[in-house]
């Protein structure tokens, strides 16, 4: 057997293992979360891609439960931050405190905040002030925290999962564009269907409360992330991702009519990164060795919807960014 054959066998094995682990993870989460398979897939994809996810939905749909369950399924530390208007950056990042040692000498000691967990739930992130929200910027992008000229590296894997309520806008602070751009995906949690509600009620009001098992360790998660990043992308498929991204910019020739009419700013390059990473994971999950155009199309909405900034006309007309993305997917040719 040649090296190439051996390598191929190894690849197949890796992909099989990847699929199995993800399937197991999904199955464990499904014990706790019912009727949100797409959200679960999105969250798991974001974790595997090394990105962060923003969940948007009304209260009581299981957003926090989802994150907690994920944390339990992965052998990782978990922290929850309830964002409130009086929440301060130090409440998230941590602070230097004066302590006395045994000899009675006073000294500064850094007390780590909840950000130093592997999985951080930023619950109702839009309730905190922009100052507090921006405390997350460095941590989310650089995976580090700088305080009093000292930088502290966060322990990988680091994953922020934020939630926000779209209804209660009073007393909230919408996330700035820079903050939004740092989320790999924005997932919209919708109200579950009748069957799903029955299952939820059965599970939460009965005697037996299910407990998810830990199926993925931290090292395995990192391995899986590496595999994801090695999945190759054909040039024409990558070109499609680029053209989709360009189509979100009203000034580009690729822009669709809606993008030209309602979009003020299109997606940043992070949008294309999100597209490709999400597509790679989808390809692996479907047992393929390379990304297809359909993978790009599948992840386009969660990857781009929060990166489009509508203009006044778009806002006034109540245009959803999802409609713009749908039009882009419909009109941008798959091959040129």
């Amino acid at each position: 057997m040649t090296n190439v054959a051996l390598m191929n066998q190894n690849v197949d094995a890796q992909i099989d293992a990847f699929r199995k682990d993800v399937t197991d993870l999904g199955a464990e989460i499904a014990k706790m979360i019912v009727g949100h398979e797409d959200i679960v897939e999105g969250v798991v994809t974001a974790v595997l891609a090394g990105g962060h996810a923003l969940l948007e939905g009304v209260p009581g749909l299981g957003k926090t439960m989802l994150v907690r369950t994920l944390a339990e399924c992965i052998d990782a530390t978990f922290a929850r931050i309830q964002f409130t208007p009086d929440l301060m950056p130090a409440d998230i990042l941590g602070t230097n405190m004066i302590i006395e040692d045994e000899r009675g000498q006073k000294m500064f000691s850094f007390s780590r905040g909840p950000i130093f967990a592997n999985i951080v739930l930023a619950d109702e992130i839009n309730r905190a002030t922009p100052k507090t929200q921006s405390a997350l910027l460095e941590a989310m992008q650089e995976h580090s925290v700088t305080l009093a000229k000292t930088t502290y590296q966060l322990d990988p894997p680091f994953f922020v999962l934020a939630t926000q309520n779209p209804l209660e806008m009073e007393g909230t602070y919408p996330l700035p564009e820079a903050q939004l751009d740092r989320f790999l995906f924005k997932l919209k949690v919708r109200f579950p269907g009748r069957e799903a509600l029955h299952v939820i009620l059965d599970r939460t009001t009965g005697e037996d409360v299910p407990h998810p098992a830990r199926v993925v360790t931290k090292p395995r998660l990192l391995e899986m992330r590496e595999l994801v990043r090695r999945v190759p992308v054909a040039r024409n498929v990558q070109d499609y991702a680029v053209r989709v991204l360009q189509a979100t910019h009203p000034e580009e020739s690729e822009a669709t009519p809606m993008a030209k009419k309602y979009v003020r700013y299109g997606s940043s390059p992070r949008g294309a990164q999100a597209l490709l990473l999400g597509a790679k994971i989808r390809a692996l999950l479907q047992g393929r060795y390379a990304v297809a155009v359909d993978d790009i199309r599948a992840v386009a909405a969660p990857a781009l919807r929060h990166r489009l900034i509508l203009n006044f006309e778009g806002e006034a007309e109540g245009i959803a960014t999802d409609a713009v993305v749908d039009e882009i997917l419909a009109k941008v040719p798959e091959t040129r």
């Binding site: 690849v11 090695r230 190759p232 040039r235 024409n236 498929v237 479907q286 390379a290 359909d294 091959t335």
Partner: protein, 727 residues
């Protein structure tokens, strides 16, 4: 593992199908302007803006452009990525083939990749190859109906309709002589415009005049019939086509009714030569002089005078002898002249034959040339055998002559009565033979005419067919062939008529010779009578020659006149609604006014009323009040509508007749005459002289110069308009 030829083969199939489809698309799209361009070419061709070969070339160009567009469509480049994407999408292969082709290309290039990435790429290629059998080439590149096919269909339908429409100028006649140019005659019976009919009547009037001058009854008869036809045409009782057909028949009848012989000019010149010889001798001096002058009337009278003298015995024997010598010499001279003429013709024919043979050597396949050469050779042969001919062809004449001589000799013997009876019997037989010969000739003529008529019908039928199918090359060839055949038949008929033994001159020479022979016999009473009879016969032949020459001249002239008349009829416009006739719907009396103008132009007094609207005063001037519409009796308080009356009309004036003397002298200059005529009319004597000069020049130019047939009509009509009015 990186061998993706199987995938490339599939992509090649897709490419071919796409190119074929593209060729169809582009070809269909290009065919739409192609059809439009073809229609333009068709229009240009039908309107004769471009020639038929140019139209054909343009049509081929259009077809070539469409084919080129299709070829360009077929040559369009389709990137491999595009083909692979189409195939993947159509086959539901999730970009496996496209990815495999891309990775294979990337792996062949130097950049070093992570081994695990390479392994994934190779796995992707293998995956692509495994998926290849599932590729659906037909679904990836389906053959569709070209999107512009409907539009093309619509264009093609419109084009076909336009092709079926008959438009454009009237096609030029293929046989120019048969159908002179001009607007095609309409089959509808429409009354012709008075103005046009007037012009046609002028031509017919000219025929009447010529017929009266020359005593040509056949021409007079034809002119009368033409008058009747014109009456019918003016009333709208006959269509142009019918009229032209009837005119053809009349012309043919007139041409056939007249005997044909050698050219009248040649005949006259030979008679003059004969006259020269006769003028040398005293007894025939006057006769010779009359012939020299071309005064055949005087010559005839002189011959009759000589015959009278012979009958009465007024000539002395010496005078008779001199007369006999003179007549004999004249006859000899005549025969010599005829021989010379024949020799001259034979020489000309030989030259022509030599020229044709030379031409045939260069072009041995030219059938037309071969036919012409054979014809010329036959003519030459006929001409060379001519000296033998009198004996061979006219046995009856010879018999008569010998019979007469024998009778004269036998008269001197006893059995005169018996011989006279025998001679009478022979003469009867001769007449019978002559009748038979004439019948045979008439029959041959009729057959030939029938053939020509049939050929003309065939040519017309083909021309009509060609009008409907102008692009039919086969039809054009057939038409040309039939036209050649028609020309050949007409030529044969002409040749036949030319070679027919009319020969007035020969008959005249023979009569003269006979008279001379008689005179040389013993001078008794019977022989004198015989000589006088022969002399009278010669006089009669002279009269016939004169008539024939006149008739030939008339025929020539009438041919031209009839051609003008036919042309005028073809071009004649139908009378506009409400404008024709003396009393029209509008009552404007245009024709009356035209006649009035002609009268005035002719120098006659005009009629002031003819310029007024016809009808009562109320109709004439409806804008006037009732009281104003009455003619006034007193001046000052009433209105007379006749305010624009003829200023020269002096209704209640007392006339005083004065005799005015004409001015004598050189008269006005030519220029002044023309200017005056243009202002006052064309009736003055001076203008008649000017016009006579003009007419000569016109005829000369029309005969010699190459004036386009279409212009001839207008030139002739113009000069007809400015002709001096003598009525």
């Amino acid at each position: 593992m990186t061998d993706v030829r199987r995938i490339h083969a599939l992509l090649g199939k897709v490419r071919r199908r796409l190119r074929l489809q593209q060729a169809l698309e582009w070809g269909t799209t290009a065919a739409i302007p192609g059809v439009a361009a073809a229609l333009i070419v068709l229009w240009l061709g039908r309107m004769e803006i471009i020639s038929a070969p140019a139209a054909r070339a343009a049509s081929l160009g259009v077809a070539a452009a469409v084919a080129l567009a299709a070829a360009l469509g077929a040559l369009r480049r389709f990137p491999t990525a595009l083909l692979a994407s189409r195939l993947d999408r159509a086959s539901g292969l999730a970009d496996r083939l496209g990815t495999a082709v891309d990775f294979a290309a990337r792996l062949a290039r130097p950049p070093v990749l992570h081994p695990e990435t390479v392994a994934l790429m190779e796995a992707a290629i293998a995956d692509g190859l495994r998926a290849a059998p599932r590729a659906n080439v037909r679904a990836a590149a389906p053959f569709r109906v070209p999107r512009d096919l409907r539009a093309l269909g619509a264009f093609a339908a419109v084009g076909a309709l336009v092709c079926l429409l008959r438009f454009g100028p009237e096609p030029r006649p293929a046989v120019r002589a048969a159908v002179p140019p001009g607007p095609a005659p309409s089959e509808q019976t429409e009354a012709l415009d008075h103005d046009d009919v007037q012009y046609q009547r002028d031509i017919v009037d000219d025929m009447h005049r010529v017929a009266a001058e020359t005593g040509d009854t056949a021409l007079e008869e034809m002119a009368k019939k033409l008058d009747e036809l014109l009456d019918k045409a003016e009333k709208g009782e006959i269509s142009k086509l019918e009229m032209l057909a009837k005119m053809d028949a009349l012309e043919q009848a007139y041409q056939q009714g007249a005997a044909t012989d050698a050219d009248s000019d040649a005949l006259m010149s030979q008679l003059k030569e004969q006259g020269k010889e006769l003028a040398k001798h005293e007894p025939t001096k006057k006769l010779g002089e009359a012939l020299q002058k071309g005064d055949l009337d005087a010559a005839r009278k002189e011959m009759e005078g000589l015959a009278d003298k012979l009958e009465k015995g007024a000539l002395k024997p010496e005078e008779q002898k001199k007369l006999a010598d003179a007549l004999e010499k004249a006859a000899e001279k005549q025969r010599e002249a005829a021989k010379k003429q024949d020799a001259k013709e034979a020489e000309a024919l030989k030259k022509e034959i030599a020229r044709l043979e030379k031409k045939l050597q260069k072009d041995p396949r030219n059938e037309e040339l071969k036919r012409t050469l054979a014809q010329e050779k036959r003519k030459l042969d006929k001409l060379q055998r001519k000296p033998e001919r009198p004996d061979e062809q006219r046995p009856l004449d010879r018999l008569t002559r010998n019979l007469e001589r024998a009778a004269e000799n036998l008269k001197r013997k006893d059995d005169e009565d018996k011989l006279r009876k025998w001679a009478d019997e022979m003469r009867k037989q001769e007449n019978k033979h002559k009748e038979l010969a004439q019948k045979q000739e008439a029959k041959e003529d009729a057959e030939q005419k029938q053939k020509i008529d049939q050929q003309k019908d065939e040519v017309r039928r083909l021309e009509d067919k060609l009008k409907k199918e102008p692009g039919n090359e086969e039809l054009k060839r057939t038409l040309a062939k039939q036209q050649r055949e028609l020309e050949k038949l007409e030529r044969e008929q002409r040749d036949k008529q030319e070679s027919r033994p009319g020969r007035v001159l020969e008959r005249l020479a023979r009569a003269t010779e006979k008279a001379a022979e008689s005179l040389k016999q013993k001078n008794d009473e019977q022989q004198r009578q015989q000589s006088a009879q022969n002399m009278r016969r010669a006089a009669d032949e002279t009269r016939k020659a004169q008539d024939q020459m006149r008739q030939q001249q008339n025929q020539k002239r009438m041919k031209s006149q009839l051609a003008d008349l036919k042309d005028a009829i073809r071009r004649a416009k139908p009378r506009p609604q409400g404008r024709g006739g003396r009393q029209t719907a509008r009552g404007d009396g245009r024709s009356e006014r035209i006649k009035e103008w002609e009268r005035r132009a002719g120098g006659h007094k005009g009629d002031a009323e003819s310029w007024r609207p016809q009808g009562n005063a109320a109709d004439k001037m409806p804008w006037l009040r009732k009281d104003q519409q009455q003619s006034g009796k007193q001046w000052g308080d009433e209105h007379d509508p006749n305010v624009t009356g003829d200023p020269t009309k002096l209704a209640d004036a007392k006339f005083k007749e004065d005799q005015l003397e004409g001015q004598k002298g050189k008269g006005p200059s030519r220029r002044a005459t023309i200017i005056t005529s243009a202002k006052r009319g064309f009736a003055s004597e001076s203008y008649s002289k000017v016009y006579a000069d003009y007419q000569k020049v016109i005829e000369q130019v029309m005969n010699l110069e190459k004036v386009p047939p279409g212009y001839r009509y207008y030139i002739k009509r113009y000069f007809e308009r400015i002709r001096p009015h003598t009525d």
